[in-house]
């Protein structure tokens, strides 16, 4: 991909200078997705703040939901001090479910997260469910009466949001929860508006337009605090269900780099996170602050993976 992009750039336009070797960000997906976005924005801000001497080069290494990039970093580049990789909740979810061909979370070093997309639960405008309690009660009464739609496959992050929420509410039989996985949040919304599913979970940023247009009604946001711009939507916590699901945006680096270099990455990411440029990017893209760095982030990742594994085991996704 990198070579091809270079060749195409040079051949077609001949105006794009190929940057010299410098920091490289691997986006484990094709151009345009969330990881690509993380790479490009963090890379741009690092350059603008003068944290790196040259432009940060973005390499797209798609495949297996990030697995191709992960295994490549682990096996081929574990000592490369100049490479960092975009990651999000999906990365740890897949690691927890052993979807990266046996790779585990301790084979890389987790640098930090600098923003998050809060999870949200919405229902169609004419839905009988007025708040999260109504919905949870309905599930408890008859799990087959409520189908959740989400933008990720079964076992993916959107599915886990529902399961974690119901788990926290005291609902025992997670296997009975009905969930259909669509291709992305918008697709899941059309199924909910069309009445095929009764509720939908997704990231707040992908649902914003539908909430404003009144097609769907948010009944809970799955963050610590109410989200900016949606102050009238209560959190799940306020409604008595202690669950937080943030789709964080962060990075990891190879395992075998020096501790000093790791600390440098942490400092650089922290500076990016505190910069005005990043604040602006977050506002424009509906992200909420979610800063965890260094050791704290390593711990967070481990806990997150443990929780995901427990739930995945309960629904029979892993042994």
């Amino acid at each position: 991909m990198k070579q091809w992009t270079r060749a195409a750039a040079a051949a077609l336009l001949m105006t794009v200078a190929v940057p010299a070797t410098a920091a490289e960000c691997i986006a484990p997906a094709n151009p345009g997705g969330g990881w690509d976005f993380t790479c490009r924005q963090i890379g741009r801000i690092m350059t603008e703040l003068g944290l790196v001497p040259n432009m940060v080069q973005v390499t797209n290494l798609a495949g297996a939901g990030g697995g191709v990039a992960y295994t490549q970093v682990v096996s081929n580049r574990s000592e490369d001090p100049e490479v960092f990789v975009a990651a999000s909740s999906s990365t740890t979810t897949r690691l927890a479910q052993n979807a990266f061909a046996g790779a585990t979370a301790d084979e890389v070093r987790w640098v930090g997260s600098i923003g998050g997309d809060p999870g949200v639960i919405v229902v169609a405008q004419d839905s009988p469910y007025q708040n999260l309690t109504d919905l949870v009660e309905a599930v408890k009464a008859d799990p087959s009466s409520v189908a959740f739609a989400g933008g990720s496959a079964v076992g993916g992050f959107d599915h886990l949001k529902v399961l974690r929420m119901l788990d926290a509410s005291g609902f025992e039989d997670l296997r009975q929860v009905k969930y259909i996985g669509l291709d992305g949040g918008a697709d899941a919304i059309t199924q909910t508006v069309g009445g095929f599913a009764q509720a939908m979970t997704g990231d707040l940023s992908e649902i914003t337009g539908f909430i404003k247009s009144g097609d769907v009604r948010p009944i809970a946001v799955l963050s610590e605090e109410r989200a900016e711009g949606f102050e009238d939507v209560p959190t799940a916590k306020e409604q008595g269900i202690d669950t937080v699901s943030m789709n964080w945006r962060g990075i990891y680096v190879p395992k075998d780099i020096s501790d000093e270099r790791y600390q440098e990455w942490v400092d650089m990411l922290q500076q990016v996170g505190e910069s005005e440029e990043w604040q602006q990017v977050m506002t424009e893209n509906g992200l909420e602050p979610y800063s965890v760095f260094g050791e704290d982030f390593q711990t967070f990742v481990n806990e997150d993976i443990a929780e995901t594994q427990e739930i995945s085991r309960e629904i029979g996704l892993i042994q």
């Binding site: 091809w4 195409a8 151009p31 061909a101 496959a153 996985g181 918008a186 337009g209």
Partner: protein, 508 residues
């Protein structure tokens, strides 16, 4: 009236000198990308996204450039379909059925002109449709749930028997192979990997581009080697290049019908351009009086799918812009682009960012005209490029196929898989089994399965749910008719016509 004034606003942004240049570059690059086997519109757009970023283009310029590439690739895909029997991209697959036989008969130029004009008609009418109906059409998507989608895919597979092959059993078998291949990868409903053998590269399933390039381009290379180039597909006869007015008049109906079918297929999220061109071809064949000439170089068989796939490209923008739901692979990439430009498509896009929407529509219209002007008079050039001696062209095609596939994932695994598909394609052609259904199976198999599984989850396993709405029932009836009718009609029509085997035509 409001539409017109909005459109005028759009044109005022889209018709500056700078954006026009961008549109022309985009159209040219797009046509070439579309014509190269393996590089379809989605790769083309995906490849150019980083470039438009590094050029520092603003939102509207980037959109103009990339939509020009998108439409350009839709035009370009037909060129190698007609001249080489290798579809440049997946929606151009249907164009090979009649386009290539036309080229063999020395009517390559006519086929290119007819398909070029058909592309123009399809894309133009679809863009106008997008302009007028987008806000209303968005609601159609809400009517389609898992059961309805499943019935729609069923319709596509039930009508498969008729295409290309004179043998329905072989077509069904090929479709089953395709569906089987589609099962490889992560099962969406349980999250379990299937048939991946622990290989990470198989987790995402088999990319249909790998299959297309393998089954068509690589298999062609094997044939070339076998026959030492004598009976190879490469090397079309070049006739005089005139605008075939008569042929255009004859195919007007086919173009318009193809446009209608394609647009509707495009509007439905998840159906996309390939289904549009497929249904357009099937529709045209089913109403034609001269059915037997389809697959042997009937210009209508070129006009209908080309109008269909370009109309679907326009139609696919409807759910993408109004709902944020991409209707095809390429619109998925365009959606990603919009998101990166801080434009969130959705129900409020038309109200909140009219300048973006209308300059996009205006640039589509501009791109379309540029493409017609570029494609019809330049037919000669394209034909020349592809009529260089086979021993020069074929290694080139092989190289492009490998580079194109490598650029998808950057893994050598896909290239090996492509060669594997080449072998499969070679064997299938030796056995006279059509390859188009295989690709359709890979292309639609996953979506069809996902929808069936979703329907089963929603209904707690009740199969009657699949017939629970009027739309679903209607689609099922059409599907059953499409499958059964040909069998009865054949009996009614005196004797089944003995399929005349013409060795110079290949059966797919």
């Amino acid at each position: 009236m409001e539409t017109l004034s909005n459109l005028a606003m759009g044109f005022s942004t889209a018709l500056t000198f700078y954006t026009l240049i961008l549109a022309i570059i985009g159209c040219f690059v797009g046509t070439i990308i579309g014509a190269l086997p393996g590089l379809g519109p989605s790769n083309g757009v995906a490849l150019l996204i980083p470039i438009s970023f590094s050029m520092g283009l603003d939102a509207i310029s980037a959109l103009v450039l990339l939509t020009s590439v998108y439409y350009g690739a839709m035009y370009g895909g037909r060129i190698s379909s007609i001249l080489l029997n290798i579809p440049g991209d997946e929606p151009a697959m249907m164009t090979t059925l009649d386009g290539y036989p036309m080229a063999r008969q020395g009517k390559a130029a006519e086929a290119l002109v007819v398909s070029g004009v058909a592309s123009f008609v399809g894309a133009l009418l679809a863009t106008i449709g997008l302009m007028i109906f987008a806000p209303y059409l968005a609601r159609v998507a809400y009517q389609f749930g898992p059961a309805e989608y499943f019935a729609l895919y069923m319709l596509a597979f039930c009508t498969l028997g008729g295409i290309g092959s004179s043998n329905q059993a072989k077509a069904a078998m090929a479709a089953a192979i395709g569906l089987g291949i589609a099962m490889i990868g992560l099962d969406k409903t349980t999250g379990m990997p299937r048939f991946t053998f622990g290989e990470l590269h198989l987790m995402d399933g088999v990319d249909f581009l790998v299959a297309i390039v393998g089954l068509f381009a690589v298999a062609e290379v094997f044939f070339f080697i076998e026959s030492h180039g004598k009976d190879s597909a490469i090397g079309v006869k070049l006739g005089k290049i005139l605008v075939p007015w008569k042929m255009l008049r004859q195919t007007t109906g086919a173009m318009l019908r193809g446009t209608g079918i394609g647009f509707v297929a495009g509007v439905l999220p998840g159906a996309g351009a390939s289904l549009g061109s497929f249904l357009a071809y099937m529709g045209e064949k089913s109403i034609a009086k001269d059915k037997s000439t389809f697959g042997k170089g009937n210009p209508k068989g070129v006009a209908a799918p080309e109008a269909g796939n370009n109309a679907a490209a326009g139609g696919a923008l409807v759910p993408m812009l109004t709902l944020g739901v991409p209707g095809s692979g390429t619109t998925a990439v365009l959606l990603a682009l919009l998101l990166t430009l801080n434009i969130t498509p959705g129900p409020l896009l038309f109200a909140e960012r009219p300048e973006v929407v209308w300059s996009l529509i205006a640039s589509l219209l501009v791109a379309n005209v540029v493409l017609l002007l570029m494609n019809v008079p330049m037919v000669k050039i394209f034909v020349k490029i592809l009529s260089v001696p086979a021993w020069v062209l074929l290694p080139g095609v092989t190289m492009i196929a490998f580079v194109g596939i490598y650029s998808l994932t950057g893994s050598s695994f896909d290239m090996l898989m492509m060669v594997g598909f080449g072998v499969l394609g070679y064997v299938m052609r030796k056995l006279n089994i059509p390859t188009v259904p295989v690709i359709l199976g890979i292309l639609l198999g996953n979506a069809m399965e996902d929808n069936l599984r979703r329907a089963m989850v929603l209904s707690n396993g009740d199969f009657w749910y699949l017939l629970s709405s009027p739309i679903a029932v209607g689609l099922w009836i059409a599907a059953i008719l499409g499958f059964v009718a040909p069998i009865f009609l054949r009996r009614l029509l005196k004797k089944p016509p003995v399929p005349t085997h013409d060795p110079s035509l290949n059966e797919d």
